[in-house]
């Protein structure tokens, strides 16, 4: 079942990769239908970010009036980190949560964009993730642009894409200095045991691996501490929000 290692699942690796990105004292938001980021935020808080403030949609003790006050906080720059995903993610981190195929008569109608068309612009650091990494999920061109990773200078956009995280690796937007590639996602780490050419084979957009030439390091596997925390305290907390996910992800290991 598990292509990476028998000792942890792909979801667990992804959760750890995301959790490591989070910093102490940050205000971290997690949207709806997002068990993996919710677990990552809880894991970070249990480990390196005890003073982080987490707002997880669906959490018990929601302090805001509706989601409205939370989105207002987000619109005025009060959320430091947010997680987004896409059924399709392109080479620049633009995302599609709407349709596969033509918008007016799609092959697959997806649930819709939720908050991403505003969140992507307004949270300081955006962590893109995708729980499955198949070639079709990473096209050169999206069928629909639910949200975009960059904007014209005339659009207020205090946010930045921090990276894309999948079970196969970590991708970072190219530095602004490299003219032609500015903002294009580059594979910076592979998952443990995964080779770069395998990632390219699973990715329809061009990772331009040849261009860099340097060998691509592996990201660290989940540590014993991370796994114990995840399967212990985090699983218990997550169960209150995502009972099905918590049961399926952590119970069978």
């Amino acid at each position: 079942m598990n292509i990476i290692s028998p000792s942890y699942s792909q979801d667990e690796l992804l959760i750890c990769m995301l959790a490591r990105e989070l910093r102490d004292h940050e205000v971290i938001g997690v949207g709806n239908n997002s068990p993996v980021p919710a677990a990552a935020a809880l894991l970070a808080k249990a480990l390196q970010a005890p003073s982080a403030i987490l707002y997880i949609l669906g959490q018990p003790g929601w302090p805001f009036e509706g989601t409205g006050e939370f989105f207002n906080l987000m619109q005025r720059g009060g959320i430091d980190v947010f997680f987004l995903s896409g059924a399709q993610i392109d080479a620049y981190g633009n995302i599609n949560l709407h349709v596969i195929g033509n918008y007016n008569q799609p092959k697959v109608r997806l649930p819709g964009g939720a908050g991403s068309a505003i969140v992507y612009f307004m949270c300081k650091r955006i962590l893109l993730f995708k729980t499955d990494h198949n070639a079709k999920g990473f096209p050169e061109e999206l069928d629909f642009a639910t949200s975009v990773s960059s904007s014209q200078p005339y659009v207020h956009r205090p946010s930045q894409l921090a990276g894309l995280f999948t079970p196969l690796g970590i991708f970072r937007p190219a530095a602004i200095t490299k003219e032609a590639e500015a903002g294009r996602l580059q594979l910076t780490h592979t998952a443990p045991g995964v080779q770069a050419h395998f990632v390219q084979a699973q990715t329809n957009f061009d990772l331009k691996l040849a261009a860099s030439g340097e060998p691509i390091p592996e990201t660290a596997a989940p540590s014993a501490e991370e796994l114990a925390t995840l399967r212990g305290v985090v699983s218990g907390q997550l169960e209150q929000i995502y009972p099905e996910f918590a049961r399926q992800t952590f119970s069978k290991v």
Binding site: G31, N32, N33, P35, L57, G58, P60, W62, P63, F64, E65, G66, T67, G68, F71, M74, Q75, L97, H98, Y103, Q105, P106, K107, V108, R109, P111, G112, G113, A114, G115, S116, A117, I118, V119, Y120, F121, M122, F144, A145, T146, S147, V148, S151, Q152, P153, Y154, V155, H156, Y242, P243, E244, F245
Partner: protein
């Protein structure tokens, strides 16, 4: 003054065919008893507004053919995946349902504009996304206070009727709702607001309870419907009925399966109690 305390039937009588009906809730706190009554009363051509990410609340109304247009930000069955009728109707050629898509924050902003009595409101983001092409009524303006900035505006939403499920109402019509459902602003944006509640309590009790408070000034009708969110959850009182949701998904796979479902759970039960009995009453009491 007429009483605010109505039966399910009386309450749904306030909704006319073709009206704009707003509904909150998702796999938590959906006003399912009110929604089943809408279907039972054969309401059609509704313009449905889903306040926040929607789920089986919208999906059931789409499946039962009550909806002509639907304004929403996301529709899925949460941990149970795709919403079957939403998906079917939006994938099908020449379907009669029109979708109007919003981002969650812009949808709540539009409802806030409705609550404020203003015709439109600026929102962040959106510019450069495909929302701007599928929503020609989302407009891009030069910020009058900063000529170098473009900003999106969205039109206000003012539903004719809002329906939602809440924990309690007191005898004066004040309501205690779940804090994550935007019901307070929704009630203000809507011409009429119908609330189903688990419990009727005294004003003193309601004042001591914790949650989102909605003053009677914003409430048109209260219907006392214990388990009125079933099969969605009412956090702290009952959990989601997984068995029923799986049954719903299974039934929704075929036209006849869904017809049977509607007959068994919506049209055949003589009232909400009869529905509950059929819908595995013992299980939801866990």
């Amino acid at each position: 003054m007429p009483s605010k305390f109505l039966t399910l039937t009386e309450a749904i009588d306030l909704i006319e065919n073709g009206m704009t009906l707003a509904v909150s809730g998702n796999m938590e706190m959906s006003p399912m008893a009110l929604i089943r009554e809408v279907i039972r009363a054969k309401k059609i051509s509704l313009s449905l507004v889903c306040v926040g990410a929607a789920a089986i609340n919208a999906d059931l109304l789409l499946g039962a053919n009550c909806v002509r247009t639907i304004e929403f930000s996301q529709i899925s069955l949460g941990e149970f995946g795709f919403a079957p009728h939403f998906r079917r109707r939006f994938e099908q050629e020449n379907d009669s349902v029109t979708g109007l898509e919003h981002a969650c924050p812009s949808l709540i902003a539009a409802i806030t504009a409705g609550a404020m009595g203003i015709p439109f409101i600026p929102v962040r983001g959106l510019i450069g996304t495909d929302y701007m092409s599928i929503r020609p009524d989302f407009k891009q303006l030069t910020n009058p206070y900063n000529a170098e900035e473009q900003i999106a505006i969205v039109p206000a939403i003012r539903p004719d009727v809002a329906i939602f499920h809440a924990y309690q109402a007191d005898t004066e019509g004040n309501v205690l709702a779940h804090p994550s459902q935007n019901n307070r602003v929704l009630a203000q944006a809507s011409e009429r607001t119908i609330v189903s509640v688990e419990q009727i309590v005294s004003p003193e009790e309601l004042k001591k309870a914790e949650g989102s408070r909605i003053p009677a000034a914003f409430v048109t009708a209260v219907v006392h419907v214990p388990f009125g969110a079933h099969p969605t959850s009412c956090p702290g009182i009952y959990k989601i009925d997984n068995t029923h949701i799986r049954h719903y998904l299974e039934a929704s796979k075929s036209e006849t399966g869904f017809e049977d479902y509607l007959h068994r759970y919506v049209t055949a039960p003589k009232d909400h109690e009869a529905y509950l009995f059929d819908a595995y009453f013992r299980e939801i009491k866990r």
